[in-house]
């Protein structure tokens, strides 16, 4: 077990068109036994980060420490890191038990000890009934577990998972996510999970590191990312349906600050703290962000409201997504599935001022 520290880690790849800065000044501390997700769109540097932690990639600048020991110069073997891949990479001619036991066999662990260990891991992953099968006969979810098991059996200091859920059907995915969470809780190992899917990251991790353009954008818990995103990128990347953004003008009438969207009738108020921050900042413009689930068409206490026309009502079973259009500016809201909002109807859309996020127009950082 280990605490993993990344201290101003940089990765620069040489290329024909000059050096490419894949990871820039990354500072992250992953506590011992913590489950951390590294989340970002493709090309954000998350895979380079992971490869540096594992030791598959040299570190251009900075230090990676396991506990207090720098590991920059160590091989993956010496770091004792285990990794599970996106593709399951099971040996098709081996049974599940042989697949699981393989890492131990390579180390020359004797047969008896190996079998006991295989059984222990199989129990943990709930695959003890399929140990005699060949991989071809397993479902995607089962193969995924075996692949996890093969990494687990080595008893690594740090456990790294690379996009391991992306091949699973949606209804299996959530199940597997909770399963993985349970496994983590019963093992207490330090785990790093790399993904581009924000739902997976939020569901699994104690803390999420959001990356974009080679830089860490924010490192925090689900609530921090959700309610106080550091910038527009984080607010946009976390949450589905995506956050609504409006380019707004800061107006002040009779001492009340409002954020009006030019060319429309939309105007939002925000929490007293943010109003104060806006006053401090000065400036005429700002970006307003509000999440679709924080917009309501049902009555609400102490709420602001805007009026808008329903352009689309999508029934999704547990809920509906309403898309509103106001003179070319469109935004979405989540509503109960039986919401009375026909296409073309004009309704009052309510919100709590505290849920209205405000970002700087130029830096896109949260104004707070």
């Amino acid at each position: 077990m280990a605490r993993v520290t990344l201290d101003t880690v940089n990765k620069i790849y040489p290329s024909r068109h000059g050096p490419v800065h894949a990871v820039q000044d990354l500072d992250i501390t992953i506590e011992d036994g913590e489950f951390v997700a590294v989340l970002g769109p493709s090309g954000c540097g998350k895979t380079s980060t992971l490869r540096m932690i594992v030791g598959l990639e040299t570190i251009t600048g900075g230090t990676i420490r396991f506990d207090d020991r720098p590991v920059n110069e160590l091989t993956p073997e010496q770091r004792n890191v285990a990794m599970a891949f996106e593709t399951y990479a099971l040996y098709p001619n081996f049974t599940i038990a042989e697949n699981l036991g393989f890492p131990l066999e390579v180390r020359g662990v004797d047969r008896k000890a190996r079998e006991a260990e295989v059984l222990r891991v199989a129990r943990l992953l709930r695959i003890e009934d399929i140990l005699g099968h060949k991989p071809a006969h397993l479902s995607g979810g089962q193969q995924q577990r075996v692949s996890l098991g093969r990494a687990l059996i080595r008893d690594p200091a740090v456990f790294i998972l690379d996009e391991v859920m992306s091949h699973l059907d949606a209804h299996l995915k959530l199940q597997m996510l909770f399963e993985l969470k349970r496994i983590h809780q019963s093992m207490g190992k330090t785990m790093v999970y790399v993904t581009h899917d924000q739902m997976e990251a939020l569901a699994l991790a104690d803390r999420v590191a959001v990356m974009s353009n080679a830089r860490l954008q924010q490192f925090g818990t689900r609530d921090e990312l959700y309610h106080a995103p550091a910038n527009r990128f984080v607010a946009d990347f976390i949450g589905e349906p995506p956050t609504n953004f409006f380019d707004a003008e800061v107006t002040e009438t009779a001492g009340e600050i409002a954020l009006a969207v030019p060319g429309t009738d939309l105007a939002f108020t925000t929490s007293p703290a943010r109003v104060a921050a806006l006053r401090n900042r000065g400036g005429k413009r700002a970006i307003v962000g509000i999440r679709p689930q924080n917009l309501f068409i049902t009555p609400l206490d102490d709420a602001g409201s805007v009026t808008a026309t329903v352009a689309l009502n999508e029934y999704l079973g547990e809920q509906s997504i309403l898309t509103f259009d106001d003179k070319g500016v469109s935004f979405r809201a989540l509503a109960p599935p039986d919401a009375d909002a026909k296409t073309g109807a004009t309704v009052a859309v309510r919100y709590r001022p505290a849920d209205v996020m405000v970002f700087d127009t130029d830096t896109e950082a949260l104004v707070a």
Partner: protein, 367 residues
Amino acid sequence: MARLELQEICKGFDEPVLDRLSLTVEEGEFFVVVGPSGIGKTTLLRCVAGLEVLDAGRVLIGGTDVTRIPPYRRRVAMTFESYALYPHLTVFENIASPLRARKADRAALERRVGEVARLLRIDQLLDRKPHEISGGQKQRTALGRTLVAEPDIFLLDEPISHLDAKIRHELRRQFHTLEELRRVATIYVTHDYAEALSLGDRIGIMGRGGLEQVGTAREVFQRPTSLFVARHMGQPSINELACELAAEGDAVRAVAGGGSVAFAVAPAHRAALNGGTGRLTVGIRPQHIAVLPEGAAADGRQIVEARVEIFEALGATGVLIAETGGVSLTALTSPDARFEPGQPIRLGLATDSFLYFGADGGRNLHG
């Protein structure tokens, strides 16, 4: 423009994939086929397009039997899951391809491609090659290639499942509003139930061999004809509880993990269940389980005392797994709620929304 009819079509490779599947898609209808991966959804599209030779059955477009007509004379357009853009041609030439095939004159071709590109907002990219554009732009180009042809039938294979959430929502809206798509018969294939519910005028849930159920979004979600259908609609998945029907028919008892719990059967459901054998599966959707604050009224719901096992705040929702009498129940909550493992809670179950499935084959007993 025309309606599409499939009459008892059969297609198998090593084992049957489509087994006497019949379906009619009306002109102007947007039909969505949803199902788990590898079940044969793409095969269905390929049979309609003529890329697969049927083992048996007929395909009719506008009343004409096209079973033996090759794909290039069917007036069917299809997008592929891999986009299948021609890598050596520009976006313009990719979109223009169907017009070139029928040797349209130059002016008409340029005007039409321009129109479609503007509609899909890729008119800035016409000179680029496919490897120079993003996934969403590739998908738009592929869509443009099908739109430009003005076909009788549209076939769309997982067109947005590989895209980011943001572009997915944007394209979904476009599918709702594109006149060109909405006025012909369209079959849209996806594995994402939310996409299916959102887009489909009607939805077909595909299982082994064919369509398990065909109906509107509300029909398939609220009244699934089988457990299979119920299981593939909804996130998190429906709670499936193997139960024993009580002799009086007013309650079912689930036994699991050394404990058991009884669920009331709503009066409206009792008649349907009386014919059933003793064993059945109760389906409870997570959104029909509410966490009740201390002292809240039952309000027609069955109250169950439970203990929190796991709580996770996802994006717009929270998922709670609670245990009662050895039975695990998954409930949908607000993401801002806070529950600690082991914490005792009261669950309110909306019994009149329960679904009951036969133990053999999982048919809906009152559907």
